[in-house]
Amino acid sequence: MLARSCLRSARAFAGLRNGAVHVSKRAASSSSSGANAESPLRLNIAAAAATAVAASSIAWYYHLYGPTADAATPAEEGLHPTKYPWVHQQWFKTFDHQALRRGFQVYREVCASCHSLSRVPYRALVGTILTLDEAKALAEENEYDSEPNEQGEIEKRPGKLSDYLPAPYKNEEAARFANNGALPPDLSLIVKGRHGGCDYIFSLLTGYPDEPPAGAQVGAGLNFNPYFPGTGIAMARVLFDGLVDYEDGTPATTSQMAKDVTEFLNWAAEPEMDDRKRMGMKVLVVTSVLFALSVWVKRYKWAWLKSRKIVYDPPKTPNTPPRL
C-alpha cells in the first residue's frame, strides 16, 4: 500500500516536471523505462538533497544535544589547578625520599592535628621514609588496644610497627564537633580522590589569597580559597613561612612545605609507585630483548626462502622463426 502510494506521488511529480502531455504515456510504461529516461541533472539534485538532509540532521542533533549545560558559575566550579612539573610523575623517576621525609614531618607537625592517615601503618614508613629504629620509636609513642587479658579487659600497649597511624579524633562526629561541623577528610588516598591530584593539593595549600577579591561572599566560619569548589573552605590557611624546622636545613617556605607534604601524600596514596615503575622498566627490558630475539630468529628461519633464486631456463630450440 505504502509502496503504491509512493509510486503514485512519484508519478505525480514526474508529471509536473515533464508536462501534462506525457503523463498518460509514462503511466502506461514500465518503471524501468522511466528510470532510463532520468536525466543526470535529476540524479545530481537527488544526491545533493540527500547529502543536505544527512548533514542537516547531524547539525540538528548537535543543536539539540551537542552542548552540555553546566549550571555552575566559575566560583562553584573552583579554579582549576595549574599543572606543576612534578618530578616523581615522570615515567622513569621515583619519589624523592628526602622530600617524603620532609613531607612526613610536615604532616606530623601540622596536618595530623586534624587529618587522619588511617591506611598507613608504621611498617610502610620503614625504608621509605624512616629507618627501622625511628619507626619503632615513633610507634611506641602511641598507645593501642591490646588483646583481652585473663579477665577479658582490654589493656593499652605501646604501638608496634604493624599498627596504623593514630587518628586525631575518635570518630566522624567528634571530628565534626571539633571543627564547626566540617569533616577533615582522611588523607590516605586524598591525592587519588581529588580532581587534579597533586596539583590540586599544592594549589589549595598555597592558594589562600591575603584577602578575598572584592564582592566575594564568604560564609561564616569559612575561608576564601579559589581552588576549592565553591571557594568557601572550612580549613584556614595552615602553612606559613618558617612553620617547620626541617632537619636537613631546607628553608621551610610555604611552597616548599606544601610541595613536600603533597609528595608525601602522593606516596601515601600509592606507595607502590616506585616498585610499579621498576616493574614497568623490567617489562620494557624483557619485551625488547624478546623482540630482538624474534627478529634474529625470523631472519634465520626465512633465510632459505629469502636467499633462493628462481631461474627460467628456456628450452633451446634454434632455427625457429620468431612468431608474428
Binding site: 595549574t82 628553608p251 621551610a252
Partner: protein, 122 residues
C-alpha cells in the same frame, strides 16, 4: 636456609651492582662526636640567618607574573572590576563580585610562575 636463598645469594654475589638498604646510621664514635658541636653551631648560625626571613618564592614570582606583560589583560580586568565593585558597594549594595576576574588573574600568574617555582624549590 632454603635452596632459593642460596641461589639469590649467589646471584647477588655475581651481580655487578649492589642494592642499597637504608639501615639506621651506625653509632657515631666519640671522637667525631666531640667535633660535631662546632659544626652544628656553625650550621645553626647559617640556618638562623636563612630562617630569619624565609620568603616564599611562590608569592614573589606570582607577583612578578601578575605585573608582567603576559598577564596584563587579566590584571587590567581585575583592577577595573575591583574599582567598579568597591565604588558600587560604597554607593549601595551590588550583587557583582570579582571572583571570575580573580580566577583569570590567578590562573595566569600561577601558570607563568610554575616552572620558575619548581626550579627554585628542592
Amino acid at each position: 636456609m632454603g635452596i632459593w636463598d642460596v641461589i639469590t645469594e649467589l646471584v647477588e654475589a655475581a651481580a655487578p651492582w649492589s642494592t642499597a638498604d637504608a639501615e639506621a646510621p651506625a653509632e657515631v664514635p666519640e671522637e667525631t662526636k666531640a667535633e660535631e658541636p662546632e659544626e652544628e653551631a656553625e650550621e645553626d648560625e647559617e640556618e638562623e640567618e636563612e630562617e630569619e626571613e624565609p620568603v616564599d618564592p611562590k608569592e614573589t614570582l606570582e607577583e612578578e607574573c601578575k605585573n608582567s606583560k603576559e598577564c596584563a589583560p587579566a590584571k587590567h580586568h581585575f583592577d577595573e572590576c575591583v574599582e567598579r565593585v568597591t565604588n558600587a558597594q560604597e554607593n549601595g549594595g551590588t550583587k557583582e563580585d570579582c571572583v571570575e576576574e580573580f580566577f583569570h588573574l590567578a590562573h595566569c600568574a600561577s601558570q607563568c610562575a610554575a616552572p620558575k617555582l619548581w626550579s627554585i624549590l628542592k
